[in-house]
Symmetry: C2
Subunit: 369 residues, 2 copies
């Protein structure tokens, strides 16, 4: 008996999503998965220590199954009601719930290419049908094509990944006015952007906004994200959601983090300042094509010492950095991303290490592409 | 536009799983969701404090995407290889992954009735087909009927919930010898039992054993469970699994807990001693029909002051306890469970409170059924 033959045929054929490397050894400068370079609010560690207490006694009890206190705080943060909020084990959990509720073979699930590479993986796990809309090199939002998409649900990362390009609410409203399905705006990076889609929720019942505490709130390790939407959609997600999807400590940490907006305003301002200096250095001093970033990363097209760009050059730069324990991200599988590297915004010191290594790479006499 | 009409039809019709009540106010004696009455190993709080450090700095980083160190420790605990282990965000996550990989409209998914009420909910979320096999009041394993089930995957809780009845490896092997599908033995309560199915894994490639750290390890609040199976099955689960399903602190806590077996041997011995005294008291002194329990709960059929039993009597006892802030569990939806209450084993002090309240209930002059 083949065990795989017992599995659903599309599952037996699946390839797993490849997350960014999470090195376990010391000494790495980690600019590959868009984590926050600064620790979370000091209130997070305090709240966790309080919850753990002397003996961790509260950990023996199940968490609040609806993350109810967290729903209330998220709602009030965005001027919404608790009935507009669903909390996930990371925003990936929310994306998965949306796919399970809205994705089918009968009606396609839409997304742009390039964007967050998890969407097509989730569609495949669901044995759904994809409707991919390609960007061109301008990376401007293809408003008319999305609006005319036959998709029942369309996933749009804004600001987009891995480019960092932000889409305006004016553009999103043009999509929302014409699109007949559910528009999921994945705002993992919105705290670093000029604008976000939350004000559109009251006017557009077919809008879902997804947020993460992994980036701006420096809590990637604790897996908390959320959906904002009409109560009818939240109700659907709750029916598919695991009863205890968010553990006690993650709920406690998220509550503490969301309660300290002043701290995070400072963190976000620092990340944006470092980002803007870094992007200007790449674009102006080095002359590398670099998209204007509204996120906490920079998408740039490296040019080698001979002035050449392209997938092989980007790969050579990636390998050069990797050999020196600096991790960035290269996406070779799409023509629009293959000549680029995505650089997460680190501390100023980390960005100097990166910049110095790019200088060293440019001076390498050996073939570097 | 109706938003629900955009959802998959079976999702729009779903009813959510109802978890046990998790009261947030003080003063409750909580014997309703089979949590451990004792705190986790002291090493858990220590390890968590170490990971959090001064400023929670490590929380900004994603967790190990495969929970790799935890796989290694779980494997060595059970004399298996790391390739035999998949870690879940609670064992419910594992059950859900199994459903997504093996459950379809074309081939039924099997389970017994009564058993863990999440199985049919997960099958419905997947829009699958169920093959339910009914116990009779003996609660003995219907070996022949399971062996002959057309199910592609069969979920068996052992010891069973909510009865606490354990099934022997001899019985399980009779099922495994004949059953053509995947047999998932859900061993959430196995640490309290005389026997477990893990030794059968090497002989039966179609066996999956599921474990939880919520009960015996006192970590319900942190959501950690795991599957033990052939590498081929683990590979399927990993392809469906969310990349970062288990957060940093849960991984750290689980590692610390699994490293302190001596502590948990003591906890399990205490829970079993309290259970056996409690069950004897109910069965012998009160004369209430009570299944022999191999779990950390007792399933008993209350008789009121007039010697009557039945669904209304059980409900009356439940309500009497609830009004006095003692929470137990009543499952009115199945004829075999409706006359019973499930009592999680608490501390000896909690069990005395419960016993005293049963005495008071029996003396109530008002109609108590």
């Amino acid at each position: 008996m083949s065990l795989s033959s017992l599995a659903l045929p599309h599952i037996a054929r699946l390839h797993a999503y490849t997350p960014g490397l999470q090195p376990t050894g010391p000494g790495w400068v980690k600019l590959n998965t868009n984590e926050c370079p600064y620790p979370p609010s000091p209130r997070v560690a305090e709240a966790l220590r309080r919850e753990i207490g002397d003996d961790g006694g509260s950990l023996r009890l199940y968490p609040n199954p609806r993350s109810a206190p967290l729903r209330t705080v998220v709602a009030s943060l965005h001027g919404l009601g608790g009935e507009n909020v669903c909390i996930g084990n990371g925003s990936d959990d929310i994306l998965n719930l949306l796919i399970r509720a809205f994705c089918t073979q009968d009606a396609a699930t839409g997304f742009t290419l390039p964007s967050y590479s998890l969407y097509p993986v989730l569609v495949e796990i669901q044995d759904g049908r994809s409707n991919a809309i390609e960007f061109d090199r301008s990376m401007r939002l293809p408003v008319e094509r999305i609006a005319a998409s036959p998709a029942r649900a369309f996933f749009l990362t804004s600001p987009n990944a891995p480019t960092g390009v932000g889409f305006s609410n004016a553009e999103l409203e043009r999509v929302l006015a014409a699109f007949r399905g559910l528009l999921v705006v994945d705002e993992a990076y919105a705290p670093f952007a000029d604008e976000n889609a939350i004000p559109l929720l009251t006017r557009h019942p077919n809008l879902v906004v997804v947020r993460s505490l992994s980036k701006a709130y420096a809590l990637a390790g604790l897996r908390v994200g959320y959906a904002l939407a009409q109560p009818e959609i939240i109700g659907l997600l709750d029916r598919v959601r695991d009863s205890y999807n968010v553990n006690r400590l993650s709920q406690v940490a998220a509550l503490a983090a969301l309660g300290d907006q002043a701290y995070y305003d400072g963190v976000i301002a620092r990340v944006k300042a470092t980002r803007d200096r870094g992007a200007a250095d790449l674009a102006q001093r080095r002359g590398w094509f670099t998209y204007p970033s509204q996120a906490n990363f920079i998408f740039t097209e490296p040019r080698n010492g001979r002035g050449e760009a392209g997938p092989a050059v980007a790969k050579a730069a990636y390998d050069f950095l990797f050999a020196r324990k600096v991790l960035v991200r290269h996406f070779p599988s799409h023509a629009l991303t293959a000549p680029f590297l995505r650089l997460s915004v680190g501390t100023d010191a980390e960005m100097r290490v990166l910049s110095d290594l790019f200088d060293a790479w440019l001076k390498t006499p050996a073939p570097n592409a």
